[in-house]
């Protein structure tokens, strides 16, 4: 998309001209004619530029071929249909000379085509001197009229032919193997050669094509002008080069499309038509063109250097968010007051695990958790002292859940949703959704699957934190805070559907205890919402918790009918204030390195329990931050609360107070007669 910038500048230029200069509909015809002739040259030049070369001799090839067609027709009486076929062949022959010198002899394209520009023009002059006296008699063939002034289904012949050739060229360049080879050669010759692409043949073919197109353009020029002197096509190469650079085709190769070159050609022709309409001297046009070429060539150079940085800068667009009141958690003796209830939870896997975002326990008491290196660990119950790598996901494993058959479902950042079978093999559940129709950005991949849970009918609800960032760059979403996320349902047959679109960073997903709704936590808006999946309110979203003092992360069911949730970060007065300053946040991302960005307080260890109706029951912290500085997920199982942290090197296991223990098996999908809840049962 970043190539759109120079092109849009060119379009603005042409719109400005059309507005300022009294160009009318009648000029459209002239413009189309002009574009048709030079447009073929532009296509040829684009192909050569994309292949990493340059062809300055296109004007001369056009001139020679134009003269040759007249000579063949009037002097030698060659039948016109044959002449029509021979014109591109003659052009291709001249192009082959270029190709041979550049591809085989390996001379530099610029100097070679500069020399052939002069040489071919000399051939044209020789032809003129030898034959022009015999060209006096005009030609009467119908084919000349057809090519010059005829129409195909109402469109003038040259324009129709140009459009057909443009479409073919575009499809070839972008969709065919030849076109891919050409583009690879242009962007990195050495890599292309190492990958087995025949570089010489590609480059050779580019010059032949350029020559053939120039030859055909010469035929059309003869049909249109009928000039029998050698000056046909003089100076065309500069005009076409300007047009092509305007269209965003890079002079350094590997980037460009013929459609854009055609648009650039339109812009240049509009400028030319404006100079005619304004009755400006031809010299003005040449000077204007030179200035425009200089500007766009510099832009192309600078753009190429800073392209990635600009693309990155353009892509982050922080939004302004209104935040509610902030609860002060340092005030003593409130529900939220910071405490040290989590501090002493004994660690599991200390020093083994690196970054387990979530965990799951099976019936046998074995503990499974993720690892930022893409692994799933398994710790043998009941004491979880021994651990080994159980499965390898190939991505960043995040949320865990048990499916109806007792296999472990893992939301893997970068890969989608995977299912881990009893023997440790992984299989893909889903990684694609239908692309949203009006989005420029291709959001059909599930890039950042965060948390998931299973509904009673067996469908899986998975949250995608953001369709614009990847799991490794989650902090960008903190800064951007826009509705880039969505909730996706994976049906039992494997098809996917986006059930909530444009949600602000959905994170925790939890099926409610009655199986009739899905709770979704929005990290960026500090709230928890409920999506009804059955009953009278099916499909509606309603709030459960609002104005939380922190950024909610994963959610899971508690055994007494409530829910546990953790905070990945706490709101601070400054982070709240910055929500009102998107320009400042954008400036921050542009001018400061990532380490220095202001973020909410991510060093926080906080877990809360809330009811179905949105009442917070208790809040547990590790105020020392020594052991569990960031808890991203809590799972309750048989009286213990397992603490996972995506930046931590351990899991924690906290003994629950007796008042918190209930009778519900938190791993079982609510309202189902689930046969088994974990694949350790399958082993039995």
């Amino acid at each position: 998309m970043e190539a759109a910038v120079p092109l849009s500048l060119a379009m603005i230029l042409s719109v400005a001209i059309v507005v300022m200069v009294p160009l009318g509909i009648n000029d459209g015809g002239s413009i189309l004619e002009e574009v048709a002739t030079k447009g073929l040259l532009a296509i040829g030049l684009t192909v050569v530029l994309v292949a990493g070369g340059i062809d300055l001799s296109i004007g001369s090839i056009l001139g020679v071929t134009a003269l040759s067609t007249l000579i063949l027709d009037r002097v030698y009486g060659v039948p016109m249909l044959l002449v029509v076929v021979l014109a591109p062949v003659i052009g291709a022959a001249f192009g082959a000379i270029n190709g041979f010198l550049i591809a085989k002899i390996k001379t530099r394209p610029f100097i070679t085509t500069l020399v052939t520009l002069i040489a071919f023009r000399g051939v044209a002059k020789w032809l003129e001197e030898t034959y022009s006296s015999r060209l006096v008699v005009p030609s009467t063939s119908d084919i000349w009229y057809f090519l010059g002034q005829g129409t195909i289904v109402g469109i003038p012949t040259p324009t129709a032919l140009f459009i057909i050739i443009l479409v073919i060229a575009h499809l070839s360049l972008t969709r065919s193997r030849w076109g891919w080879h050409l583009t690879s050669v242009g962007s990195d010759r050495r890599s292309a050669r190492r990958n087995g692409i025949n570089v010489e043949r590609s480059v050779f073919s580019a010059y032949i094509l350029s020559g053939a197109l120039a030859g055909f353009a010469g035929l059309l020029a003869s049909a249109r002008f009928g000039r029998a002197d050698s000056g046909v096509g003089l100076g065309f190469e500069i005009i076409v080069l300007t047009a092509v650079v305007l269209g965003g085709v890079s002079l350094s190769g590997g980037r460009g499309s013929v459609i854009r070159a055609a648009v650039g050609m339109f812009v240049v022709t509009i400028i030319q038509q404006a100079t005619i309409v304004l009755r400006m001297d031809n010299g003005y046009f040449a000077t204007l063109l030179a200035i425009v070429l200089l500007f766009f060539a510099v832009l192309d150079l600078k753009w190429g250097t800073y392209r990635e940085r600009f693309a990155a800068k353009l892509s982050l667009d922080p939004g302004m968010t209104a935040v509610g009141p902030l609860i002060d958690v340092t005030v003593l003796d409130t529900l939220w007051t910071v405490n040290g209830r989590l501090t002493d939870a004994p660690p599991i896997g200390l020093g083994l695990i690196e970054g387990a975002e979530d965990c799951a326990i099976d019936d046998g008491g074995h503990l499974y958790c993720g690892d930022r290196r893409g692994w799933i660990w398994r710790f043998e119950g009941p004491d979880h002292a021994e651990g080994k790598v159980f499965a390898r996901t190939g991505g960043l494993p995040l949320g865990h859940a048990w499916d109806l058959n007792g296999n472990l479902l893992v939301a893997v950042g970068g890969m989608g949703v995977q299912r881990i079978l009893a023997d440790g093999t992984t299989e893909l559940v889903a990684n694609q959704v239908k692309r949203s129709r009006f989005s420029l950005h291709d959001d059909s991949a599930i890039r950042f699957a965060d948390d998931l849970d299973v509904a009673p009918d067996g469908s899986i609800y998975v949250s995608e934190f953001s369709s614009r960032t990847s799991a490794a760059e989650y902090m960008l979403e903190f800064v951007e805070c826009r509705p880039n996320g969505r909730l996706i349902r994976i049906n039992p047959d494997g098809s996917t559907e986006v059930v909530i679109k444009n949600y602000v960073s959905p994170n925790g997903v939890c099926t409610s205890h009655d199986g009739q709704s899905i709770l979704v936590a929005s990290t960026g808006l500090f709230r928890v919402d409920r999506l009804w999946i059955s009953g009278p309110k099916k499909g509606q979203l309603e709030p459960v918790l609002e104005d939380l003092p922190g950024y909610p992360d994963n959610m899971n069911r508690a055994s007494d009918g409530n829910y546990w949730m953790s905070f990945v970060a706490m709101r601070t007065p400054v982070s709240d204030l910055l929500m009102k300053y998107p320009a400042m946040r954008r400036r921050m991302t542009k001018e400061l390195p990532v380490d220095e960005w202001f973020v909410p307080q991510l060093n926080v260890s906080c877990v809360l329990k809330f009811t179905d109706s949105g009442q917070v029951l208790k809040v547990l912290w590790d105020e020392t931050l020594e052991n569990y500085p960031m808890v991203t997920s809590i799972n309750e199982h048989e009286g213990s609360l397992y603490l996972s942290g995506v930046q931590n090197n351990r899991l924690g296991r906290l003994e629950l107070d007796p008042e918190d223990r209930g009778s519900i098996d938190t791993r079982r999908v609510p309202m189902t007669q689930q046969a088994r809840t974990s694949f350790s049962e399958a082993e039995k």
Partner: protein, 359 residues
């Protein structure tokens, strides 16, 4: 597969039926538009003098005439025409505009295309650089109801009126003059410094010179194409002197603008002793004030002056007639030639239309 081929053939047939060759049929054309009184068929049989004047003014009022020469500013030949046209049309209330292409054929074609398509002119006055290049434009203009007057350089496609000079006869006459001088010197070799091969001036001039040369027993030893550029003409003249030195007696150049540098080259060669003095004479066609200076300086020995201001006035008259008669453009075509005479040092100041100023 079969369905595919049938479909392709059907599509192709559809496309072909939609194709036209573009050769225009007899132009339906509309009568000359504009003006409050459309004089179709000319002036009435019996009419008062004041009425006549009013009729002319009414016809010509607000007509837009465009003159698109290949060269204009700085070239006396075309400015001479342009000046007459401007004076005439402006006094009649018409709008006269000159579009200077500055020797760029492509630009000229584009301007004419633009004028025709945007209907910005009611009459075009053209000056062809090439026999064929404006073929299509002339046709289209006439089909669009625009009169076409062609000056001095013919084209294969006829306009409504052509006004120029009988170049073949002029060429013959100047060659005869050269023959006289050559025979007096006892030499018979002449050379041509002509223009581009498809240039109408070139074609006719060469024809005339060849005919006269054959008759007179002169031998044409060299022909070059100066592309009407002064520097090329100068070089080519010098080369010819180099190559044919002692036997060359005349250089035939059909335009004074290129004859002068050729004459200078001869003079330089004479000064450098590569050729005998007064051996090689330069014979030109057309004589602006620069050309006459050249004659008096001895650079040009003789020239044929033809009535340039007459050509301009002729165009002025032709356009008025076309509008008054009101026939459809392209329906009736005619050609007219202006007078000419041989001039040299002896008589050039006495000929009215020689040594014109272009203003």
């Amino acid at each position: 597969m079969k369905i595919k081929t049938v479909a392709m053939i059907a599509l192709l047939a559809l496309v072909l039926t939609g194709c036209t060759s573009g050769r225009p049929d007899a132009a339906p054309g509309n009568a000359a538009a504009g003006g409050t009184v459309s004089l179709t068929g000319g002036v009435p049989e019996v009419v008062q003098p004041l009425e006549v004047r009013q009729l002319v003014h009414d016809t010509m009022k607000d007509k837009r005439i465009a003159f698109i020469p290949l060269l204009y500013k700085g070239y006396k030949i075309t400015t001479e025409w342009g000046v007459q046209l401007q004076r005439g049309f402006e006094s009649l209330g018409s709008t006269f505009t000159v579009y200077d292409s500055n020797f760029d054929t492509d630009q000229m074609v584009r301007i004419i295309d633009d004028l025709i398509k945007s209907k910005k002119a009611d009459a075009l006055i053209l000056h062809n650089p090439d026999l064929n290049v404006l073929t299509q434009q002339i046709k289209e203009a006439q089909a669009a109801g625009i009169y076409v007057v062609v000056l001095n350089m013919t084209s294969n496609q006829s306009g409504d009126v052509f006004i120029g000079a009988d170049l073949v006869s002029m060429a013959e006459e100047i060659t005869n003059k050269a023959a006289v001088d050559c025979k007096a010197d006892g030499k018979n070799q002449i050379a041509l410094i002509n223009g581009p091969a498809t240039d109408p001036w070139n074609v006719l001039y060469e024809e005339g010179v060849k005919t006269a040369a054959e008759e007179q027993g002169l031998e044409i030893v060299d022909t070059t194409d100066s592309k009407w550029q002064a520097d090329l003409a100068s070089q080519q003249a010098a080369t010819m002197i180099e190559r044919h030195g002692a036997d060359l007696c005349a250089l035939m150049v059909p335009w004074d603008v290129v004859a002068l540098p050729a004459g200078n080259a001869v003079k330089t060669a004479e000064d450098e002793g590569r050729v005998a003095k007064d051996q090689v004479g330069v014979y030109a066609i057309d004589s602006s004030s620069d050309g006459c200076e050249g004659i008096s300086d001895g650079l040009i020995r003789a020239s044929i002056a033809y009535d340039q201001s007459g050509i301009g006035t002729g165009a002025l008259l032709a356009v008025q007639q076309l509008f008054e008669l009101g026939n459809a453009p392209g329906s009736q075509r005619s050609v007219a030639y202006v007078p000419y005479v041989v001039i040299d040092k002896t008589n050039m100041s006495q000929v009215t239309f020689a040594c014109y100023f272009g203003s």
